[in-house]
């Protein structure tokens, strides 16, 4: 089957919710590992996301989640299936801030790449800093910031790319538990004030349910969608809310079943 990536025209300004931002149909992908042997990463993944929807993907480590994000961001072309997606930007697990740039210059990187003059790019990034609770740290270098702050700078960089779809690859995976909980609350409020289509990859089921509109459960490699949970609980959601706890139990059940199904007969 031929593989296609098409970019539909950007939605009308105003970021209204509705209409599809991402559509994957039966996408399969195999990569070659360092020793040259093929590793099937995805086996027929189909998924869709509406404009402004926060979609979480949970699954065991090595279920092809990162490959899926790279396909959505157009870093690779799928070997099978079709992807229709608005321009997407990647926020990797590690912040990957550039050590030689100040926080504000790191955040403004996408603008500088788009040939926005330095001063204007800095001003636009600095305006976002207050909103992200980073004011006063504009001129600090990454080495002087805490892990949570670096991740917020990375998020500012992601937002300022201006792309309608954000792909977050375990954005808080490298943080300690307390900082992670803070950052989840912070991301929830940031998305409430600045709605975007988000694909959030995480292995933390709770994080997925607190943040997402919909949670897709992936099987171990090669990854397939084995379950879907709609999260209709009102925001802001606490980890201890009854609805959140119940959904978490269901998601964990789905994950356990997915693991048995693939590892059992093989």
């Amino acid at each position: 089957m031929p593989s296609t990536i098409t970019h539909p025209p950007a939605p009308p300004a105003g970021g209204r919710v509705g209409g599809l931002a991402i559509a994957l149909r039966d996408v399969a992908h195999t990569f070659t590992d360092r020793r040259g042997s093929p590793v099937p990463a995805l086996a027929g993944v189909s998924l869709q996301a509406r404009h402004g929807e926060v979609l979480a993907l949970v699954g065991p480590s090595g279920c092809g989640k990162t490959t899926l994000l790279e396909l959505i961001c157009g870093l690779q072309a799928p070997q099978r299936g079709a992807i229709e997606c608005e321009p997407a930007v990647l926020m990797p697990q590690r912040d990957l801030l550039l050590a030689w740039l100040s926080a504000v210059d790191n955040a403004a990187l996408a603008l500088r790449i788009a040939h926005v003059p330095r001063v204007r790019a800095r001003n636009r990034a600095a305006a976002l800093f207050a909103q992200l609770g980073l004011d006063g740290f504009e001129h600090s270098h990454p080495a002087e910031l805490s892990g949570g702050m670096r991740q917020r700078v990375a998020f500012a960089r992601t937002l300022l790319s201006g792309k309608p779809v954000l792909c977050l690859d375990e954005p808080f995976g490298a943080l300690d538990a307390i900082t992670r909980a803070e950052m989840q609350d912070w991301l929830a409020s940031a998305l409430a004030s600045e709605p975007r289509t988000v694909v959030l990859v995480t292995h933390d089921v709770e994080e997925a349910i607190v943040l997402a509109d919909r949670v897709l459960v992936l099987s171990p490699r090669p990854g397939r969608v084995v379950g879907e949970l709609a999260v209709s609980a009102p925001r802001p959601r606490a980890r201890t809310d009854g609805a959140v706890v119940a959904l978490r139990e269901r998601a964990l059940e789905l994950l356990a079943r997915a693991r048995c199904n693939t590892t059992g007969p093989a």
């Binding site: 930007v89 990797p92 030689w100 790319s161």
Partner: protein, 285 residues
């Protein structure tokens, strides 16, 4: 049993704090100079004792006091010879840095060039200068140009190797991220690869500087020079030939100091160029 502690008396009157700070800074500077000066004194002392014992004649190993008096008596002559040598070193190293860096960037961008140029660059380091020196003189005469060519040949290599490695060391994830931010190949180079490679390139430049001075000596030894002040390398060879060993040692001492001065000048430049790479508490000149 606890040792008796010195009781620090309270001198903390506010008007003395600025003076105290300057005093502290002076003391710290003095302390950082203490170790190198002490080592130098020990080495000079051992040298003096060994030379005075008379096992080796003064033609073979002059004593430090003989070298010092020769340096003092021939200060004008040695300074006159330092000028062309220092010019060769500074210009030659500058050219070598430019060439090494430019080649590294070309090799980084083109695999074909890497395969073609890299082996030749490695081989060039095994080339005995004496073999090509006559050709260099034939092309460029008795002036500075053939000497610069020799210094460049010796010094471009460390810059090339360290810069190629530095440019290739950027993480793949970093490049992927830049691609999703729509960076072109050139922008990925300018925003990420180049600054990431700068510390490695500067390390290469440090090595180049350290060998640049001996490169100037080789260049002067292997080529012909016209004029009264032919350079320190030329002078050393001439002095050794007529058993003016103390003056040859005095000139060698000046080369020694020149290499150290160049090295620390670059350390200062590094702090300005790539402050993110300078380790806290690193070398202080």
């Amino acid at each position: 049993m606890s040792e008796p502690r010195l009781q620090s008396t309270h001198a903390g009157a506010p008007q003395s704090s600025a003076a105290a700070r300057i005093g502290r800074r002076r003391r710290r500077a003095a302390r950082s100079l203490l170790a190198p000066l002490a080592l130098l004194a020990i080495l000079l002392g051992a040298w003096e004792l060994y030379a005075d014992a008379g096992t080796a004649s003064s033609f073979v190993l002059p004593a430090p006091h003989e070298v010092a008096s020769s340096l003092w008596n021939n200060a004008g002559f040695i300074a006159g010879n330092l000028v062309p040598t220092a010019e060769e070193v500074v210009l030659g190293i500058a050219l070598a840095l430019v060439l090494g860096f430019a080649l590294a960037v070309l090799i980084h961008f083109s695999d074909t060039l890497r395969r073609a140029v890299y082996p030749l660059a490695v081989g060039s380091q095994a080339l005995p200068i004496a073999v090509i020196a006559p050709l260099l003189v034939f092309w460029w005469g008795f002036g500075m140009l053939p000497k610069l060519a020799v210094i460049v040949l010796i010094c471009f290599f460390p810059v090339l190797v360290t810069t190629v490695d530095g440019l290739g060391r950027i993480e793949r994830d970093q490049l992927k991220l830049l691609r999703t931010l729509d960076a072109s190949r050139w922008q990925a180079f300018r925003f990420a690869e180049l600054p990431a490679a700068l510390p490695a390139a500067i390390s290469g430049a440090r090595i180049a500087l350290a060998v640049g001075v001996i490169g100037a000596y080789i260049a002067e030894s292997q080529t012909i020079t016209s004029g009264a002040h032919a350079g320190l390398g030329h002078e050393i060879n001439a002095d050794l030939a007529v058993l003016q060993t103390p003056r040859a040692y005095a000139a060698a001492l000046v080369l020694f100091a020149l290499a150290i001065a160049c090295f620390y000048a670059l350390t200062l430049a590094e702090r300005a160029l790539a402050p993110w790479a300078a380790q806290p508490g690193g070398e202080t000149p």
